[in-house]
């Protein structure tokens, strides 16, 4: 047993750090290349789609290399939320789509030329996938889609939607690539509590798609739940995100709240975080050695959200009154920060954490899934 990275992995980590130095910003700074040049650098280096195999235009990294990459990014505050196209749709295309579909969709995702969103939830079906009613009916050589998708992240900006729909009366489902500009697609903005603009409700009213828009299916209801809610690689790097949040908390505590009580609770979360790191490494190690997984991914999702939410709550608490100001970007830009420089961003991040926890479905559904994992063991 050993914790350290192997020689080649250490070399790789240095390469990653050098890349981040050059294109994101020196270690220990807030970072902040503009999004455009950052993305261009990623594409040019061939690192735009970290989890993809080389044959599909990815870097062909091992699970550990992806982990090293995400950990290094998290430490510098590079946003690590799943990119729908890169992290969710790409792997699904690689797994299910035929060669022609892959040739059509993968390169534009790899080159960041096409943004995707994922349409799963519906007004009458949140986590209950068998209750989904969006229907793709055979229509000439293609399909006609009718239904409503909601809580679609980035729905306002995406050019394409990966849309889950029923494809027969038996309840089988399929994934469709739907052009967001197609006739019959209506997009309505949904404001979220973290002030993030981009979430949408998408209505499909007799939307015509060609036969080859269907790239996965027939699938059983719920079959893809684990893959569609969040990617494995982002789940496996949550401890790195949490570690960065712990650093922020330490700064806040140092300035605003040196009470014994906050210190004690800080230590308690820090121990939890050590546990999460160790859980991630065990999962990764099993993946790497092709051993049976010691526990399901849901367990990591439950644990990491718990820790991130605790950290957020402690941050807010230790800001005291300066947890209140909620200036928008323009006000911040024109008049400067109110109170501590990082307060507004920290509070917003905390709210985002709360929103993100819902993206990958309720804790209760995750526990249902984890229970199925335990129950089949014996």
């Amino acid at each position: 047993m050993r914790r350290e990275l192997s020689g080649p992995e250490t070399t790789f980590e240095r390469e990653v750090q050098a890349f981040l130095d050059a294109h994101w910003g020196p270690h220990g700074t807030a970072g902040g290349a503009d999004e455009e040049s950052w993305r261009r650098a990623l594409v040019e280096r061939g690192w735009s789609v970290p989890t993809w195999p080389a044959a599909a235009g990815g870097p062909g990294w091992s699970a550990t290399q992806v982990f090293i990459w995400r950990r290094a990014c998290a430490a510098r505050g590079v946003v690590l939320e799943d990119d729908a196209a890169v992290d969710i749709v790409g792997p699904l295309l690689l797994r299910y789509a035929d060669a022609a579909q892959q040739a059509r969709y993968l390169p534009e995702i790899r080159n960041y030329e096409c943004r995707w969103c994922v349409g799963v939830a519906e007004p009458e079906s949140g986590d209950d996938w068998s209750a989904m009613s969006t229907l793709a009916a055979q229509c000439g050589a293609g399909f006609e889609l009718n239904g409503t998708k909601t809580w679609v992240r980035d729905g306002l900006h995406a050019q394409r939607m990966c849309c889950l729909a029923r494809i027969d009366s038996a309840g089988s489902q399929g994934l469709f690539a739907v052009d967001m500009a197609a006739p019959g697609v209506t997009i309505a903005s949904i404001a979220t509590l973290n002030g993030d603009a981009g979430m949408a409700q998408v209505t499909l009213d007799a939307v015509q798609v060609p036969a080859d828009a269907l790239f996965a299916g027939p699938l059983e209801a719920g079959e893809l739940a684990t893959l569609l809610y969040a990617s494995e690689s982002s789940t496996l790097s949550r401890s790195a995100v949490a570690a960065a949040q712990l650093d922020v908390l330490d700064e806040v505590i140092e300035t605003f709240d040196r009470s014994d009580s906050i210190h004690q609770r800080r230590q308690a979360v820090a121990v939890e975080l050590e546990g999460l790191k160790a859980l991630e490494l065990r999962f990764l190690d099993a993946r790497q050695r092709r051993q049976p997984l010691p526990f399901s991914l849901e367990l990591l999702r439950l644990k990491s959200r718990e820790i991130l939410l605790q950290l957020g709550a402690l941050q807010v608490e230790s800001f005291g009154y300066y947890a209140l100001p909620y200036p928008d970007e323009t006000l911040l830009h024109n008049e400067g920060p109110i109170g501590p420089a990082n307060a507004a961003a920290t509070i917003r991040q905390t709210l985002t954490q709360q929103v993100a926890a819902i993206y990958e479905s309720s804790a209760e559904r995750l526990k249902d899934a984890a229970w199925r994992g335990i129950n089949t063991e014996g």
Binding site: M1, L299, E364, I374, G378
Partner: protein, 376 residues
């Protein structure tokens, strides 16, 4: 990064696991708890024959040169079997102090007996007023000529009743809580002036209150340098934490698995109670606590094997915090989900619960190690 075990480690684990499964039944264990000695001398000889008592010692000292990983694997399985034989007291604590502090002569004098199973030992480190502070000592050792004279009182000495040897901490200089001035001595448990009051413990083991009145020992009973004994004991205690923590991980595994099995078969309200979502989610929480503890166990063991220092101590404290919290949660819920049966003396569940409760207290509880984790 690689979390796999070597072939030797796998063989060792298999050998302990098999013994626990085939030769260490719960009913037999309960008979041992009620016996005069409190454990089985025959089992102890077998442990020695199988080489387990020598795993933790260097080959030069007659052992097998195992490290923290080996100790962890053995202890985890001892936890599954709820072993009452005094491996922790004799090998890990007293043996550990001699291993870390003893010179070649002392190791040659004491370790062979521990390794071949003929010597029982105990570490007498705690005192009533000191709680978990290893340097808070009122027991004193004063030197005159070639001898030290020990006077004082040692609390809850695990395996005290069976011990032939006691490793005793005493103050040779400084104030009551100073880190400097702590010395460790090997004392014959039957020496003049040593009085033991023996008793059973909550978790089915044995311990003693030990009074030392004018106990004379030769100068070569001192382990290491006079006044510098704290680090010796601290290291032995940290290894003890890794061992009892690993035991707790083994206990938790049995508890959650037994609970899942029980909930699948126990019918109430016309169905197995495992069909109720509220119980399923509780069992997921138990599973999660166990896995988190196990993960920190691996990290602590690997850190200890990388070298003893602040990083290892910090990892050990994190592990102990987790084990304290998780052990309580898993223990309480296993009893709860077993209902009436869970609270009986007849079923194993309550006995695992008691061991977990004691493990939280041993060597410092959650609060103590949370503070230590924060300091390091």
């Amino acid at each position: 990064m690689d979390f796999s075990f070597t072939e030797e480690q796998t063989l060792l684990e298999d050998s302990v696991a098999k013994y626990m499964q085939n030769d260490y039944g719960f009913d037999d264990r309960q008979k041992l708890v009620k016996s005069e000695l409190g454990f089985s001398a025959a089992n102890w000889s077998t442990f020695a024959e199988l080489g387990w008592l020598g795993v933790a010692f260097a080959e030069a000292d007659g052992g097998f040169g195992g490290g923290a990983i080996e100790s962890m694997l053995m202890a985890e399985n001892f936890g599954r079997g709820l072993v009452v034989e005094p491996y922790l007291a004799t090998v890990v604590l007293a043996g550990g102090a001699i291993k870390h502090g003893g010179n070649a002569d002392q190791k040659a004098r004491y370790l062979p007996g521990i390794i071949d199973g003929s010597t029982q030992a105990a570490l007498a480190y705690a005192e009533p007023q000191g709680r978990f502070n290893l340097s808070d000592l009122t027991t004193k050792a004063s030197k005159s000529g070639d001898k030290y004279t020990l006077d004082g009182y040692k609390a809850v000495v695990m395996n005290g009743p069976a011990a032939d040897l006691l490793v005793v901490t005493a103050r040779t200089s400084g104030d009551q809580r100073d880190a400097d001035g702590v010395s460790a001595f090997v004392v014959d448990a039957n020496a003049d002036g040593v009085t033991r009051r023996d008793y059973p413990t909550v978790d089915g083991m044995r311990a003693s209150e030990v009074t030392l009145e004018g106990v004379e020992v030769e100068a070569d009973a001192l382990l290491g340098t006079e006044g510098q004994g704290l680090s010796i004991v601290e290291q032995a205690i940290d290894e003890g934490i890794l061992a009892v923590g690993s035991e707790a991980v083994g206990c938790m595994e049995v508890l959650y698995k037994d609970t899942v099995e029980y909930c699948k078969t126990r019918e109430q309200f016309g169905q197995p109670i495992g069909k109720f979502q509220v119980l399923q989610h509780r069992m997921v929480d138990m599973f999660m606590e166990h896995e988190q503890s196990k993960s920190l166990m691996y990290m602590a063991a690997m850190r200890m094997d990388e070298g003893y220092g602040a990083a290892a101590q910090k990892a050990v404290s994190a592990f102990k915090v987790q084990v304290g919290k998780s052990g309580r949660f898993v223990g309480q819920n296993a009893v709860q989900l077993h209902g009436g049966m869970g609270m009986t003396d007849e079923l194993n569940i309550g006995h695992y619960f008691k061991r977990l409760t004691i493990i939280d207290t041993l060597f410092g509880n959650v609060d103590f190690h949370l503070k230590r984790f924060g300091r390091l």
